[in-house]
């Protein structure tokens, strides 16, 4: 981790070692915010969160305080209010929630208790990605300790997912939590009014909730001064890809990609050149290398045509074939489409088939235009953001690296031969789809 000239908030105290034990967390000042919030009471606590202007860390970047204020007040609600924490973290490139749970599980628990108090929740649920078994165990152990110490006044249930990316989408998560097939619901009504078991529900990402104790500790106004306007506070950036020191780095919003990649991450090995940056997980449109000095905050990245999303930064160097990369991403979304709505179910598969044909050098120029058009026909027509993600991401590769796509068509194959850094890299998706759809296509 880089030397902390920046404030460390979410991962504070864990610089020297994990804060899994309650005792250690307490020594680092843990659970003082919860006590403070109890004194403040629900109204004032929520007010602090609003003042801090914390934007959601799960992807969409909606302000937490504002979302919480859509909930009915506990007195008005006809049914119990629930708090749900999204720990499904399944986006390629994202691994920050995992770090938070592993290293500061009590900060999440404390955040849950404060948020539950602020909104008057009767029960809290943590929906954790099924593959995060050891994280589940760490969190469960911490929870047991906190319960034994009578720190948990609003009960928390930790539920393990079963391996579907779509269950990270908030309404699909609710369906899954209710024991149904994980598929998104149509919105409105939004979960704040009709959520889990049709009750008002606040859903936030692990990191968003883990930010809350520091908001209370510092005070909303002071917190809002960290970072930049409209992107307050710090962010745990998951840095991966062609970079020397991948890992999680907590930095204030407004830090540039260059600082993250070169100062924290040690740059790219062997002096290779940066080719592109995926700024916010696989779902965010790719940025060309010339954007490296861009500020990492919600609005700047959006202005540049992408999203900060889950702040999962993937570095791509000059060895990568962008067609292969687009195909890899297309395969992921095809495989993870839940199948509920037509444009995504059919479109993600069509996109993947065209991409594969281009990558194999069998496609025509017309098919490249078709690819762009299919992306356009998926975009904005789907039930949830998954279909859009695929369409936007794939379209961004065509837009910024069209020459590489054309080269595949003209040369009848990959211009990189097998020197591309992606050549031969296989993923679980390959195993599933090469099997099934490959067979089909071969028929």
């Amino acid at each position: 981790m880089a030397k902390a000239k920046h404030p460390i908030l979410v991962l504070a105290g864990a610089e020297q070692g994990d804060l899994r034990a309650l005792e250690d967390y307490r020594r680092a000042g843990g659970y003082a915010s919860l006590e403070k919030a109890r004194k403040l009471g629900p109204g004032a606590t929520l007010e602090q969160i609003k003042q801090a202007a914390v934007r959601g860390r799960g992807g969409a970047g909606f302000q937490m305080g504002q979302k919480a204020s859509f909930l009915p007040s506990p007195g008005q609600a006809k049914s119990p209010i629930y708090l749900v924490v999204n720990a499904d973290e399944s986006e390629p490139g994202a691994f920050k929630d995992r770090e938070i749970i592993n290293r500061v599980p009590h900060r999440l628990i404390e955040g849950i208790q404060i948020a539950a108090l602020a909104i008057g929740a009767e029960r809290c649920f943590v929906y954790i990605r099924g593959e995060y078994l050891s994280e589940y165990e760490v969190l469960s152990a911490a929870l047991a300790e906190a319960e034994a110490a009578k720190l948990v006044s609003v009960p928390i249930l930790v539920h393990r997912g079963a391996g579907a990316y779509i269950c990270g989408e908030e309404t699909a998560l609710l369906e899954s939590l209710e024991g149904k097939r994980g598929q998104p619901r149509s919105k409105p009504p939004f979960p704040a009014l009709v959520g889990l078991y049709n009750s008002p529900t606040l859903i936030n990402n692990v990191e968003t909730i883990a930010t809350v104790p520091k908001v209370i500790e510092l005070g909303g106004e002071a917190y809002a001064k960290i970072g930049v306007k409209d992107s307050t506070g710090t962010r745990v950036f998951s840095l991966s890809g062609d970079v020397v020191r991948g890992g999680n780095y907590e930095l204030p919003h407004g830090t540039s990609f260059r600082e993250l990649i070169y100062d924290c991450g040690g740059g790219i090995a062997a002096g290779r050149k940066l080719k592109a940056i995926i700024p916010g997980g696989s779902s965010s449109p790719v940025l060309p290398a010339d954007q490296v000095d861009l500020s990492m905050d919600f609005d700047s990245v959006q202005k540049a045509g992408s999203f900060l999303g889950s702040a999962s930064v993937i570095v791509i160097d000059e060895r990568a074939c962008m067609v292969q990369l687009a195909l890899r991403i297309g395969q992921f979304y095809m495989n993870e489409s839940c199948g509920k709505c037509t444009p995504c179910r059919e479109g993600t598969r069509w996109i993947e088939m065209i991409l594969r044909k281009i990558e194999q050098g069998r496609a025509s120029h017309a098919e490249l235009d078709l690819l762009a058009d299919v992306c356009d026909r998926v975009l904005g027509k789907c039930l949830c953001a998954l279909g859009d993600s695929d369409a936007m991401a794939v379209a961004s590769y065509v837009k910024h690296f069209r020459a590489e796509f054309e080269a595949h068509i003209e040369q009848g194959g990959c211009p990189y031969g097998d020197t591309s850094s992606l050549a031969g890299v296989r993923s679980p998706v390959d195993e599933i789809y090469r099997g099934r759809i490959g067979q089909e296509a071969a028929l």
Partner: protein, 753 residues
């Protein structure tokens, strides 16, 4: 974020909201609709079509899956789905007709839906009535840009003996799965896999056994779920269609009977919103093929030296005329309760006016005691409290009522079942006592019923004294004074009430012969009743009018071929008291009863018109207050409630002492039984198993475990059945389907062989 105001709220809230009007503009046309109306409905009211695939309000609120209904709404950046959007005041909407963006959305959806859709139209049963075909024709591009091989899957897959699934044709609209999960609540159909590999399946490929499964074949907008009976039989434009009513149970679901070349090809729902809401049970939907069973008798038969021998109609009528003469007024008529009013009336006239006897065996006691508490069946969906006196499962007697009860529960009603395996366990014959208890002031459930704005009582079982016990309770609870409250009796036969009325209309004398010179048995159900069979043993001569000669063939001297309910025209009175019209499908392989009855009447000097309409006019003048056939229309109205009189509670009889054994046998007619179902091979998988249901206590005491082969015996009758432990069953009772009961008496003993 705005919340639709439709969520929750009391009925009063809903009513208030419904009366508040909002103004919306759709494609430039302004309409006023009640607040909370869906956009698809509001557009329809404005004369604008928003095409849909997945939207089907009967299976629940819109889910926004197919994306066919995309529209542009001013003030919203993205396209919205019409099926999930309730209109708000001042909303300005542009559908694909006027918005380029919406048109692009719709055309994208069309293209994606057709991407992998097989080119099956020429061989697909849905062709001609397929939503995908119709909407492609209107909104599709006519050209495909798909150059890859289409997804191909194994097909068709039988998901039950009655339904085939073609997964290539499925557009994943989730109508079928929502029906299974939300409406039928059998949870047997679901989607498996993700994304482009998603498909509809049953759990571990078990057959779809839910008794309402056939509805998915009508819900499916494409040819993915089709009926195996109907496969490749005909095209929708080749049909003649009769707007009729199902005659297999006292619900009387409205059906469309479609035939081609004189044969019924299928039975579809005709949606009477107060009766069936467009659903049918599988018995009603799939039974039609019994008409073409090889075992059906089509010509008269007479008992010969060894077996029944065929004879012509002229001879048969000579024979029957002779039998009536020889009986010298000692004639008994046994009715099934499956006859139309007209047929029962014609038979009654022959017996009462032609043969000079006034003795009848009616299928069950039916009376008008509940007419002051009449409610449409659909009122169940809105009720707060429902009490079912359920000696016989509602599902077996009146299957659709069970669907309405599910809907009621989903809408928040308390449903309390009182019976041998109910929420409140009461033995057989104790329902009348339970009624008396509820009528008492201190009864907690009675209090809830009194307090409820809308409470409904149902009686499903025998011994109801024609509804008198229930009427007394309903009166005590004041249900006649509350709209939406009421009481209904579920009879065992489809037209019990109607045949009693018809009998009464045919004469007013009361000559009761002491002996039986001639027993006239109408219908296969009556022919299979043990009681009727006993009468036959005492009768000097018997004649039976039946579809099949299975039962009647054993003892009748003359068997005359009957027609099936799908071939008959006339009227029936259902369990609500609603008089509904049957319209016979074209053609019947057997001669119409009314034609030869009129001929016989002529010989006997009875004035009997040969047409249903003329018979109805006669009946109407005598017992139906002069109403006209036309006033019944295609979807018959419910007659108004009659004024409540004061009720003497009928005395509750104490249950009879058991003879033959210590356990009381509940002999029930299972849903999938009866002469029609028994002749439909595709339904044989639904027939009741040869088993005896026994309570865990009684089983333990006898060392019986589930699945054991056991002997059920009484008075010398022994039946070997498989034991099924039913934890909900009251100790002391056992249940066996009628067809496996043989001659067992009411008291039985069960033991290991």
């Amino acid at each position: 974020m705005s919340a639709p105001e439709l969520v929750g709220g009391s009925a009063a809230d809903r009513e208030r909201i419904a009366h508040e009007l909002v103004t919306v503009t759709i494609d430039g046309r302004q309409v006023q609709v009640p607040k909370g109306t869906g956009l698809v409905e509001a557009a329809a009211a404005a004369g604008v079509e928003i095409p849909v695939f997945c939207y089907e309000p009967r299976v629940g609120a819109g889910i926004g899956a197919c994306r066919m209904c995309l529209v542009e709404i001013e003030g919203m950046p993205k396209l919205q789905t019409g099926c999930t959007t309730p209109v708000t005041d001042g909303m300005v909407v542009h559908t694909a007709g006027t918005s380029e963006q919406a048109a692009a959305g719709q055309s994208a959806t069309m293209e994606f839906l057709l991407l992998n859709h097989p080119l099956d139209c020429p061989v697909c049963d849905k062709g001609g009535e397929c939503a995908l075909q119709d909407l492609s024709f209107r909104y599709g591009s006519g050209k495909t840009r798909m150059t890859f091989r289409k997804r191909s899957l194994e097909k068709p897959i039988p998901i039950s003996p009655t339904i085939a699934l073609d997964r290539e044709r499925c557009i994943m609209c989730f109508r079928c799965t929502r029906f299974s999960q939300e409406v039928a609540q059998d949870e047997e159909l679901s989607a498996v896999n993700r994304g482009a590999l998603s498909m509809i399946a049953t759990f571990e490929d078990e057959p779809y056994r839910g008794p309402f499964s056939g509805n998915v074949t009508e819900l499916c907008p494409v040819g993915a779920l089709t009926s195996t009976q109907y496969r490749f039989k005909a095209r929708p434009w080749e049909y003649e269609q009769a707007a009729s009513v199902c005659g297999l149970c006292p619900v009387g679901c409205n059906v469309a009977v479609q035939s081609r070349e004189g044969r019924v090809q299928r039975v579809l729902s005709r949606n009477h919103p107060e009766v069936d809401r467009g659903w049918l049970c599988d018995k009603g939907r799939f039974s039609y093929s019994h008409l073409y069973s090889e075992e059906r008798i089509l010509t008269p038969r007479r008992r010969g030296v060894r077996e029944l021998e065929e004879l012509g109609w002229e001879q048969a009528l000579d024979e029957l005329e002779g039998m009536i003469e020889r009986a010298q007024g000692e004639v008994v008529l046994a009715l099934s309760g499956s006859e139309t009013l007209e047929l029962a009336y014609a038979l009654a006239k022959i017996v009462r006016q032609g043969a000079g006897s006034d003795r009848v065996v009616l299928p069950e006691q039916a009376a008008d005691a509940l007419d002051p508490f009449r409610v449409p069946i659909s009122a169940l969906a809105e009720a707060e409290e429902i009490v079912v006196f359920e000696e016989c499962p509602v599902l077996d007697r009146a299957p659709l009522i069970e669907l309405w009860l599910k809907q009621a529960r989903r809408n928040g009603a308390h449903v309390t079942r009182i019976g041998p395996s109910g929420d409140i366990q009461r033995g057989r014959g104790e329902a009348a006592l339970a009624c008396q208890e509820l009528a008492e002031k201190e009864s907690a459930l009675g209090k809830r019923l009194r307090a409820a704005e809308r409470a409904i009582l149902l009686w499903s079982g025998g011994g109801g004294a024609g509804g008198c016990h229930l009427a007394a309770l309903a009166h005590a609870l004041g249900l006649h004074e509350k709209e939406g409250s009421g009481a209904l009796l579920l009879p065992a036969s489809p037209n019990a009430r109607g045949v009693a009325e018809a009998w009464a209309a045919a004469g007013d004398e009361n000559r009761q012969p002491r002996q039986i010179g001639l027993l006239v048995v109408s219908g296969d159900e009556a022919a299979s009743e043990p009681q009727v069979r006993q009468l036959a043993e005492h009768a000097r001569a018997t004649v039976a009018l039946t579809l099949f000669a299975g039962d009647s063939g054993e003892w009748a001297d003359l068997v005359l071929p009957a027609t099936g309910y799908l071939e008959r025209s006339g009227t029936m009175r259902n369990l609500e008291g609603r008089l509904q019209r049957l319209r016979g499908a074209t053609g019947s392989p057997a001669r119409r009863e009314l034609s030869w009855l009129a001929e016989l009447a002529g010989r006997l000097g009875v004035d009997l018109p040969g047409s249903e309409a003329a018979l109805f006019t006669e009946l109407s003048a005598k017992v139906l207050d002069g109403i006209s056939l036309a006033s019944l229309g295609d979807r018959a109205p419910l007659p108004p409630r009659v004024e409540a009189q004061t009720f003497e509670a009928a005395r509750a009889e104490s249950p009879p002492t058991l003879l033959g054994g210590p356990l009381e046998l509940i002999r029930y007619r299972a849903l999938f039984s009866g002469p029609e179902v028994e002749h439909v091979p595709e339904l044989s998988f639904q027939r009741p198993a040869a088993e005896v249901e026994i309570s865990p206590e009684d089983a333990d005491r006898r060392g019986i475990s589930g699945g054991n082969e056991v002997v059920v015996r009484s008075n010398g009758t022994r039946v070997t059945l498989r034991a099924r432990i039913n934890a909900a069953l009251l100790p002391g009772m056992v249940r066996v389907a009628a067809e496996h009961c043989a001659e067992l008496a009411r008291g039985v003993e069960v033991s290991r062989p």
